[in-house]
């Protein structure tokens, strides 16, 4: 009967429907690289576990058949624990892919083969991709792939996708795939088999997974699967549920453990004589570097070196200094702006409309100039720095290095990634907070990003702004650090919920491939630009409208007391209004004020602190709303506003008291 159904679907498929192939596997085994190789599309690939938080889809033509390729977030087992794993399994449960590529790391066959066993057990159409074969060979591992294929009864292909090895074979295997008629028969111990059978007997519904696999998932108390089974079984479900509860209670001590151990035994049996281990371990320079980076005594100095050369010298001095001078100072101010203004004045008869494009708040002279002249070079250098570091595998090591410190602020070391990324773009970083485990951790990270982490563009402008007065820069830095620590420390105490636990896989350190770093930077830049450019233009239009209708002047007047309270001239209100559109835009506004000589050192420092703390830009607020919901987003926004102003007020008083100017 099963066969006739298969024939039916075959015919349906060949009648023009698109076939589907899904990539699954542990985090950091090269799924995304394979996805890129198969589709020619680009998803961000990194040497960092858990980067694909979203499902990527692409298309490819194999032979003359169209295939949809689906890349899933990493999962460790069919029974899911984290959000990302749930997303990945969703595809297996609901989308019925024609072929599933299980990608695993050749160096860790035994651990990862357990999931292959689960996929076979669920009677899914699996092809096993033994990836990273090049690194396995380098350390002296020998793997008998034909024997493995024979034992598993499914196609097995060796590959090194990062080196483009095995891609052709994989494409061929996909197009030639037929459901295996003799896959590995998974047999557990007698007691477990009896329990599975008892549950299986009570199931009558129709499922995409084999009942046997579902029975095991039910016994593992998998909520989602229980829901699906409840639906499919209808009136039959209470009886089944009763049985599952009974067995689970009997085995409550160690069901998960027993199952894992049994699966490991099965994997070991399959792998007997398949893998030959090297006689002695080869210590590579990557491993030496890895050790160097995680020992506090050497790791902390290394971190300082990375920050100094990467962030300060490359992004700060080179990006925000040299490049901005060329782009903004030379290109825009000296050449482009006068030229475009000339054209506008010549061809547009109405002065008001001229203003819209080339005036003080003109779309071109302000919006485009800020976006391209100031923001672009800074963000580009930051993303190059970030992508390079990401590909070396340094971030997981940084995470473990700071875990103890981060715990004091209610976050695990894992949160270091969004925090560092926040120095590039807070909006993007807020999106990445979803890789954190608990809601508590995510909220704290979101709050700190909104409040205390200045994005690279803002950072660049502020450092440029305050650099003429080292005292001011020092006060700004100290105040920001103090407030960030204070808020994090308090949040960890006030927020309900359990403290986070930290665990992270450490991928081997690698020398990044320049092409990959550049592509990644380009993708990020593209995302950033598509997101910010419209905002800059809208901001310019609104500011222009405000000026034309004189609403803007009124707003400035309304804000004057608020400005006065923190000791700023009323013109600074402009920067704050800018700031709501983009934080960096706001800082750039301060830049203008300083060039006009409207503010002294004290005012500049207070303005810089308040503005850095002040409300995140519209984009970040929208992402906050998407990720955390209205209530949390509004709560954070309100807190940030009040906190920014109070801090500005107190700082101003303090500086006045000590006579800082």
């Amino acid at each position: 009967m099963g066969k006739c159904c298969n024939v039916g679907t075959e015919q349906l498929k060949s009648a023009g429907a698109i076939k589907k192939v899904a990539l699954v596997g542990n985090p950091n085994v090269g799924k995304s690289v394979l996805f890129n190789a198969l589709t020619g599309a680009y998803v961000t690939v990194s040497n960092y576990p858990g980067t694909s938080v979203e499902v990527s889809r692409g298309n490819t033509l194999i032979g003359n058949v169209h295939w949809e390729v689906v890349d899933t977030p990493g999962m460790y087992a069919i029974h899911t624990i984290t959000e990302e794993e749930r997303v990945a399994r969703e595809i297996l449960l609901n989308e019925k892919p024609d072929v599933i590529l299980h990608v695993l790391d050749a160096r860790n066959l035994e651990r990862m083969l357990s999931m292959t066993v689960q996929l076979i057990e669920a009677e899914l159409p699996v092809i096993l991709i033994v990836n990273i074969l090049d690194e396995a060979e380098r350390i002296g591992l020998q793997i008998d792939l034909p024997l493995l294929e024979k034992r598993l009864g499914i196609p097995v292909i060796g590959a090194a996708t990062a080196r483009k090895r095995g891609i052709g074979e994989i494409r061929k295997a996909i197009s030639e795939y037929r459901l295996s008629d003799s896959p590995l028969k998974v047999v557990y111990g007698r007691n477990l088999e009896r329990d599975i059978l008892e549950v299986q007997k009570l199931m009558q519904g129709k499922y995409l997974f084999a009942r046997r696999a579902l029975a095991l998932l039910l016994l593992q108390q998998d909520e989602e699967v229980t829901g699906i089974v409840r639906e499919a079984e209808g009136g039959n479900f209470p009886l089944l549920e009763q049985k599952v509860k009974e067995i689970f209670f009997e085995r409550r001590e160690s069901f998960h453990l027993d199952l894992s151990m049994e699966r490991r035994e099965i994997a070991r049996e399959v792998l007997r004589d398949v893998v030959t281990f090297p006689e002695k371990d080869l210590v590579t320079w990557q491993e030496k570097l890895s050790t160097f980076s995680v020992k506090p005594l050497t790791g902390v100095p290394l971190l300082i070196v990375v920050i100094y050369f990467g962030l300060y010298q490359f992004v700060g001095v080179f990006g925000a200094g040299t490049l901005v001078d060329i782009m903004e100072g030379k290109l825009f101010e000296e050449h482009f702006n006068p030229w475009i203004t000339g054209i506008a004045v010549a061809y547009i008869p109405w002065e008001t409309i001229q203003e819209l494009f080339v005036g003080e708040y003109g779309i071109i002279t302000l919006g485009i100039r800020y976006a391209v002249g100031i923001i672009l070079p800074i963000v580009a250098t930051f993303f190059i720095f970030f992508s390079f570091l990401e590909d070396t595998g340094y971030f997981p090591r940084l995470a473990l290095l700071v875990d103890r410190v981060f715990k004091r602020f209610g976050m695990s070391g894992r949160a270091v990634i969004p925090m560092v990324l926040g120095f590039g773009c807070d909006t993007m970083a807020t999106m990445v907070t979803r890789t954190l485990e608990s809601t508590r951790e995510r909220v704290i990270a979101t709050l700190l990003l909104a409040l205390a982490i200045p994005c690279s563009a803002q950072l660049g402008v502020i450092i440029g702004l305050l650099s003429k007065s080292p005292g001011a820069l020092f006060i700004w830095g100290g105040t920001m650090l103090f407030l960030a620590l204070l808020v994090g420390f308090l949040a960890a105490r006030v927020m309900p919920g359990k403290p986070p636990i930290f665990y992270m896989e450490l991928p081997p350190m690698r020398l990044p491939q320049i092409g990959n770093v550049l592509t990644k930077t380009y993708t990020r830049m593209q995302w950033y630009f598509l997101e910010i450019l419209p905002l800059f233009i809208i901001a310019s239009i609104l500011l222009w409208l405000g000026k034309v209708t004189r609403f803007f002047e009124k707003l400035v007047t309304v804000m004057t007391p608020a400005m006065g309270a923190i000791g700023l001239p009323k013109e600074a209100a402009v920067a704050f209004i800018f700031g709501f559109f983009r934080r960096d835009y706001g800082s750039a506004g301060l830049y203008d004020l300083q060039s006009k000589g409207l503010m002294d050192g004290r005012q500049l420092t207070v303005a810089a602190v308040t503005l850095t703390l002040f409300i995140p830009c519209v984009a970040q607020f929208l992402v906050m709303k998407n990720e955390r919901g209205w209530k949390t987003a509004l709560g954070i926004a309100l807190f940030v506003t009040v906190f920014a102003w109070s801090s500005g007020y107190i700082l101003n008083r303090l500086l006045l008291a000590v006579g800082f100017a």
């Binding site: 790391d105 860790n108 651990r111 453990l257 995680v294 103890r404 636990i501 930290f502 450490l506």
Partner: protein, 216 residues
């Protein structure tokens, strides 16, 4: 031989009096079990004790039995305190009930799990069992948590102990399964360990839940 609870308590009392206080025998009133209890008859019938003129004394077999009984009692105390974290009077009274379950090899398992302790929580010696002698002669240092390891040390994972099933599943996903070999690479600021060819970093919270049989 399975003795009644009262019989075991009498043996313990005699053992403490004769072995630790140096008396030859113990007055029946001082055993803590009333003189008309059937446990006395039980002990005499098994040829473990002799009762003469209100005094109760060990026969050679009884002394051995008494030693094992006291061993179980003190192991139970350790278990209450070290593993279950039940302290004070509550712990003592629970240990008194628990000790009677620790026969037929259960005591050996608990003793191994507790890493062959030498003293009870009150500082009194625990008579060594066969498992302790075995462990000593093999140089087996017993089972310790990953947090007790030094960098570079390796061992076989003995068990995982976690109240939280999700934590346990995370550990298992990392290949932390009983029987697998684990090497600790570093213990500060986080624990870095290696299983197979993979390295993982975890915090002390998780490291405390992994129990390892040391290789030396």
């Amino acid at each position: 031989m399975k003795l009644s609870e009262h019989a075991e308590e009498i043996l313990e009392a005699i053992w403490v009096a004769t072995e630790e206080k140096g008396d030859f025998c113990l007055e029946i009133e001082k055993t803590g079990v009333s003189p008309d209890d059937p446990a006395y008859a039980e002990l005499t019938a098994n040829a473990l004790v002799e009762i003469r003129e209100g005094m109760i004394c060990f026969r050679p077999e009884g002394k051995k039995e008494g030693e094992m009984t006291i061993r179980r009692h003190r192991l139970a105390e350790r278990l209450m305190m070290d593993v279950l974290n039940i302290r004070g009077e509550d712990g003592d009274s629970k240990a008194c009930k628990f000790e009677h379950l620790l026969n037929e090899g259960v005591d050996t398992k608990i003793c191994t799990m507790l890493n062959h302790p030498k003293t009870c929580p009150h500082g009194k010696p625990i008579p060594p069992g066969e498992c302790c002698e075995d462990a000593r002669s093999k140089g087996d240092l017993g089972i310790v948590t990953l947090t007790e390891f030094k960098s570079g040390q390796a061992g076989e994972i003995a068990y995982i102990q976690s109240e939280d099933s999700k934590k346990m599943q995370k550990l298992m996903a990392m290949g932390v399964l009983p029987g697998n070999r684990i090497t600790l690479m570093q213990s500060f600021p986080s624990y870095i360990f290696r299983v197979g060819y993979s390295e993982f970093a975890i915090d002390s919270e998780l490291a405390r839940e992994i129990f390892i049989r040391k290789e030396g």
